[in-house]
């Protein structure tokens, strides 16, 4: 197979050599056009209609657990329409239609369509994604299909009035718990000088299959608020919203109220302060055990951006929660206090250092009850800390870049004697070997540890490590070659080793693009849980701009 790819690569390089020898100006212009072609998600306002179509063929050889291989998506396995891209002005007044559809008619497909009108500021986007995948990897398990469809409308009615709305539907079929949801939303915004005032409605309907123990129902959300219409030294925003949820077969209709007030002020060119006040309340809760029914939150933060390219941001957030205990006999009042400190520092133009720290403490924690109904202990982590350092170096005298990071994430419940820690270390680097060749390296290591009374060692923790080496070679103006090798290992409770090698070559000439690629994906499961597989994927894709 590698020989086959090498041969194809050789053919492409030879083809390029022939074209280069011809040296006609037309192909040079085409190459320029290909390089300046818009990114797939980009939009064009004016110009000629463009239609691109790509045909692809993909072959798979899978030995082992093919369902684990398809856990997120089922890739095409035969000749298929890989891409249709249309960018078509409908009239001379700026009305444009666009479409981009991937893997049409395949089990997993997706696309985006848009229509916009420059003069009137109307834009309609619709996005569709169908995913065919497995949650259960045992032989014969049901394949799930999930369809996500979202449409957004933005309309600038007048220079001061905007309407935003949309519709979203999610439909999951197969498996134990099929469900479907539909959402309609609309927000009207009116600019009044320095402020935007807005009001919105959001309606959601969610349905589980008959016989499910989950509750189907609908939720209506209304919102009223205001915010700054442009940037300024002082900014204030406020919002009130309510959610009413009706559940099938339940007498109560829980309602939530949210109130938010946010402020920002630039004291000097270097110094800013900001704050938030939030209130949340839940009424007519259906919960029969412990639940939070009210929260009052205040947060304040200061940021300094200035001397020696330093950015220091410090914040404090405190939240008082009304918490009904497990028997709903009394309301407890725990408090959550969070302190944050973020520092960014550039001692030299080519060096960037950052440090982040977050400390969270929960006071007056609610206790749980034992089976006899007596208060036992608290299950809530009293302390959680996050510490992160990152540094990057991109020297101007040598074409390399280096980034390294270290992160500690700790949680602790001293009353119970439980705690856990996750330490993550990472390193990434790139090197422009020549003007046409770039090499990359990235490494990640995560180690987990856990503490619980009576627990010997960390039998349930699985450390992990992944690293990847990659190279990109710009063979010519028209031809690019990329390859990478990735290994991801897990140790301890989970013992998996996955190797992925991939290579692809892309060649452009006139309005055509040819892509060839191979991926060799090998997963070894040393726990004997039969997750392993060995998959080879070969694909070829030919794209052309229709005349």
């Amino acid at each position: 197979m590698i020989l086959l790819l090498s041969a194809l690569l050789g053919l492409l390089v030879a083809h390029h050599a022939v074209l280069a020898a011809e040296g006609d100006a037309g192909t040079e212009a085409s190459a320029e056009e290909a390089e300046s072609a818009p990114a797939p998600d980009a939009v064009k306002a004016e110009g000629e209609s463009r239609i691109t179509i790509a045909l692809g063929t993909q072959r798979q050889w899978i030995d082992g657990n093919s369902q684990r291989f398809r856990q997120y998506v089922t890739p095409p396995s035969a000749t298929h329409i890989a891409l249709i891209e249309v960018d078509h002005p409908l009239n001379d007044e700026g009305l444009v239609f666009g479409l981009e559809a991937h893997d049409l008619l395949e089990p997993s497909a997706g696309g985006v369509g848009y229509l916009y009108e420059v003069d009137q500021g109307l834009r309609v986007d619709t996005r569709y994604r169908r995913s065919s995948y497995y949650e259960d990897f045992t032989a014969g398990a049901d394949r799930l299909t999930r369809k996500d469809w979202r449409t957004d409308v933005r309309w600038r009615i007048t220079p001061h009035d905007h309407l935003m709305g949309g519709y979203t539907t999610v439909d999951v079929r197969g498996g134990d718990e099929p469900w479907r949801s539909q959402t309609w939303r609309a927000t009207y915004t009116h600019e009044m000088g320095a402020f935007d005032a807005y009001g919105g409605l959001h309606f959601e309907q969610f349905n589980f299959a008959p016989g499910s123990a989950r509750l189907s129902g609908e939720a209506t959300t209304w919102t009223l608020g205001f915010g700054p219409s442009r940037d300024a030294r002082t900014l204030i925003a406020g919002n009130v919203s309510g959610v009413q949820t009706n559940l099938a077969g339940v007498g109560l209709s829980p309602s939530e109220t949210f109130v938010t007030l946010s402020g920002f002020h630039q004291l000097t060119d270097d110094l800013t302060v900001s704050g938030d006040l939030k209130y949340w309340e839940l009424e007519d809760a259906i919960a029969r055990n412990a639940y939070a029914r009210r929260e009052r939150l205040a947060a304040i933060e200061g940021e300094y951006i200035g001397l020696w390219r330093t950015d220091i941001r410090a914040g404090w957030e405190t939240a008082d929660v009304d918490y009904a205990d497990g028997r709903q006999f009394q309301v407890l009042q725990p408090a959550v206090n969070t302190t944050t400190l973020n520092v960014r520092f550039r001692p030299r133009r080519d060096v960037k250092l950052t440090g982040d720290f977050r400390r969270r403490r929960v006071d007056e924690r609610p206790y749980s009850f034992n089976v006899a109904g007596f208060p036992a202990t608290t299950l809530i982590h009293g302390q959680s800390d996050l510490l992160r350092f990152r540094g990057s170096w991109t020297p101007t005298f040598w074409p390399v870049g280096l980034t390294a990071g270290y992160q500690e994430d700790e949680r602790e419940n001293p009353e119970q004697g439980t705690g856990n820690q996750v330490i993550t270390r990472d390193l990434s680097a790139w090197w422009s070997v020549t003007d046409d060749v770039t090499a990359t390296l990235s490494m990640l290591n995560q180690s987990y540890s856990q503490l619980a009374p009576g627990l010997a060692g960390t039998p349930f923790a699985g450390d992990s490590r992944s690293w990847s080496l990659g190279a990109a070679w710009r063979v010519s103006d028209r031809t690019n070659f990329e390859t990478s090798f990735t290994r991801a290992d897990s140790f301890g409770a989970i013992e998996l080793e996955q190797d992925i090698w991939s290579a692809s070559v892309e060649h452009k000439w006139r309005e055509h693009t040819l892509r060839l690629g191979v991926t060799l994906d090998d997963l070894n499961d040393y726990n004997g849980t039969l997750l392993g597989y060995d998959a080879d994927l070969w694909y070829a894709e030919f794209a052309t701009l229709l005349p």
Binding site: L379, V422, A493
Partner: protein
């Protein structure tokens, strides 16, 4: 405590006069708008770069509505610059070049999508990221290039390289996928223009994972997000060596909080019995959905 901090916030915000600093109008020569076509006479290369782009087209059409649109919509009133191009810059160009004010020009038009206060309090603003660092189609970013409405996740990973390694682990959100196709983008979860509070995560996760949506008659306290980390208490959203993005394998996950259950039916994973672990409508111990 909340009341104390609330009073402090109100005091801080009340001290400065609530005068909104508007862009300067035509009160001084610096604030006079030039004719819309004036810019392209000298800045031919930039005008060519912007021509045919969506931004260029919108601004060109709006130039007919009001003098001062087109290039000056972002660069500010420029008559003084046209008259004396060597010594006088366009009115807002110095601010465009500063990281803490550069977004100001974009927000003049896009504030109904991204409120200025959201951006100014956001992590990307603090990190010195400018709008065109992500929305420019030509990378490294160019301010006048094609603008992308929704950059894909590869743009995010150019800076957040450490996350890429997590996406390669045994279970991960399907964002970057060797043999697979992107199913989820970073922006589906992250508020890239602002900052998502840890308290909002449960709501966000449930927007895709509706099957875990409540309310339930019997709630699992870890998930509410008011006192604990909500979904993130048990799941590592980028990637994990364990199945289903779990932080710890099997019963080790539950021992994070339920430390007294080390010897409680040892062997199987806790959710073999407590199968409705995200919340139940029929059983207080989550034994059935």
């Amino acid at each position: 405590m909340v009341a104390l901090v609330a009073a402090l916030i109100v005091a801080v915000l009340a001290v400065p006069p609530l005068a909104w600093s508007e862009p300067e109008s035509g009160e001084n020569p610096q604030a006079q708008y030039a004719e819309p076509d004036a810019c392209g006479l000298c800045h031919r290369d930039v005008a060519d770069e912007a021509a045919g782009r969506l931004h260029g087209a919108i601004l060109e059409r709006r130039a007919a509505e009001a003098k001062g649109q087109n290039c000056q919509t972002c660069h500010g009133p420029s008559q003084a610059h046209v008259e004396n191009p060597i010594e006088v810059k366009t009115a807002w160009t110095p601010e465009l070049l500063k990281r803490n004010t550069s977004a100001k020009m974009c927000l003049n038009c896009h504030s109904n999508q991204i409120p200025a206060i959201t951006w100014r309090k956001g992590d990307h603003h603090s990190g010195g990221v400018q709008c065109w660092d992500c929305h420019s189609a030509d990378r490294p970013a160019k301010a006048h290039s094609e603008f992308i409405a929704r950059p894909n996740s590869s743009v995010c990973l150019e800076c957040h390289r450490e996350v890429e390694g997590l996406f390669r682990l045994n279970s991960h959100h399907p964002v970057i996928l060797g043999t697979e196709q992107e199913r989820v983008t970073c922006a589906d979860c992250h508020d890239v223009h602002g900052r998502r509070s840890q308290r909002d995560w449960a709501q966000k996760c449930r927007s895709c994972h509706l099957e875990q949506r409540g309310p339930h008659r019997f709630e699992h306290g870890a998930i509410s997000g008011r006192l604990m980390g909500s979904c993130l208490e048990c799941h590592s959203p980028h990637g994990s060596p364990n199945a289903n993005l779990l932080r710890f394998n099997s019963r080790g996950l539950c021992l994070q909080c339920h430390g007294d259950k080390v010897t409680h039916f040892p062997g199987p994973a806790c959710w073999s019995c407590h199968e409705a672990i995200h919340g139940s409508n029929s059983h207080p111990q989550f034994l059935t959905p």
